[in-house]
């Protein structure tokens, strides 16, 4: 495990710089140097007054398996919510009043968040899992160059490895 700083929470230039035994926290990039960070040390995590540092797990366990029918039912709902998002976007584009457009955009955003939640519970929880890796393989073989390039970058790097 190595330490990672959330720059959106960090107040800059304080205690993690002094407590780190290796200087891994003191970089020009705002990120902690994972190569010099001592595995599992966590001194900076406990010292940070802004709760801006956490330890990153390098090896994620595979998500608990679900009965296939349950995962499929969650994916079916993900599809319905995705279609509702698009319905709402069409309503927003053709809306007779600014109010209708705003309501429709709120419904579209809400539907996307629900669809994402269903996707998570259908098995696509994190990048580092079998379901995601398998999906990337299929996307890379089924689609045009733009999509294939990104899918191959994702599948080829360490991004999806547990």
């Amino acid at each position: 495990m190595y330490a990672s700083r959330n720059i959106r929470l960090c107040n800059k230039d304080c205690v993690c710089l002094f407590v780190c035994p290796t200087g891994a926290t003191d970089t020009e990039t705002g990120q902690i140097d994972r190569l010099t960070c001592v595995d599992g040390c966590r001194v900076c995590v406990d010292a940070c007054p802004s709760h801006a540092i956490h330890l990153v797990v390098e090896h994620y366990p595979e998500p608990a398996p679900k009965p296939p029918s349950l995962a499929e039912a969650m994916m079916a709902l993900c599809e319905r919510k995705s279609e509702q998002e698009r319905t709402a976007l069409v309503i927003a584009d053709a809306a007779p009043t600014a109010g209708t457009a705003r309501i429709a955009r709120a419904l579209a955003r809400s539907a996307r968040i629900l669809a994402e939640d269903c996707a998570r519970e259908a098995g696509y929880m994190i990048p580092q899992c079998d379901a995601t890796r398998e999906l990337m393989g299929r996307i890379a073989s089924d689609h045009d160059a733009d999509i294939r390039t990104i899918a191959e970058q994702l599948a080829g790097g360490t991004a999806l490895t547990r």
Binding site: I91, I103, R112, L114, L154
Partner: protein, 144 residues
């Protein structure tokens, strides 16, 4: 294998997951993939037809999933179903209120969406705590 219709959400969810792990390059790539699967837009869409779809989920899909999740003792599914059912019920109520009152419903009020669960709130400021998922007000985005 999810149908193409769902891929935008599958990938935007993976982008969020990567972002939480601070894997920013991976997050960016999943976000780009998500944008490359916009899906097909339905031809005629009205608030009425959208209401019917949302109502179908509330009346049929969520209860069925609740039963299936209980049988499999799957806490993740049960949590998602509980939030989703509440958020969808609130969506339906919002459509009904807007259909009855039109733009008078909005007046000078703003629309906020909880980025954690999708709950839509109409008011001057976001609620201190999301009534569905208990996320703090900072998790609400404002609908432009």
């Amino acid at each position: 294998m999810p149908h193409t219709a769902a891929l935008a959400a599958v990938f935007s969810n993976l982008s969020k997951a990567a972002d939480k792990q601070q894997l920013f390059e991976t997050a960016e790539r999943f976000a780009r993939l998500s944008a490359l699967f916009p899906g097909t837009r339905p031809a005629d869409s009205t608030l009425e037809s959208l209401r019917a779809e949302v109502a179908r989920d509330v009346d049929r899909d969520y209860p069925a999933l609740q039963a299936a999740g209980t049988e499999a003792a799957d806490r993740g599914v049960l949590r998602a179903v509980k939030w989703g059912e509440k958020v969808s019920t609130a969506q339906r109520a919002l459509i009904d209120r807007y259909t009855a009152k039109g733009d008078d419903l909005l007046n000078d009020k703003k629309l906020f969406v909880c980025e954690a669960c999708g709950f839509i709130f109409l008011g001057d400021d976001p609620p201190e705590i999301c009534p569905v998922c208990k996320a703090p007000s900072a998790r609400f985005s404002t609908v432009k």
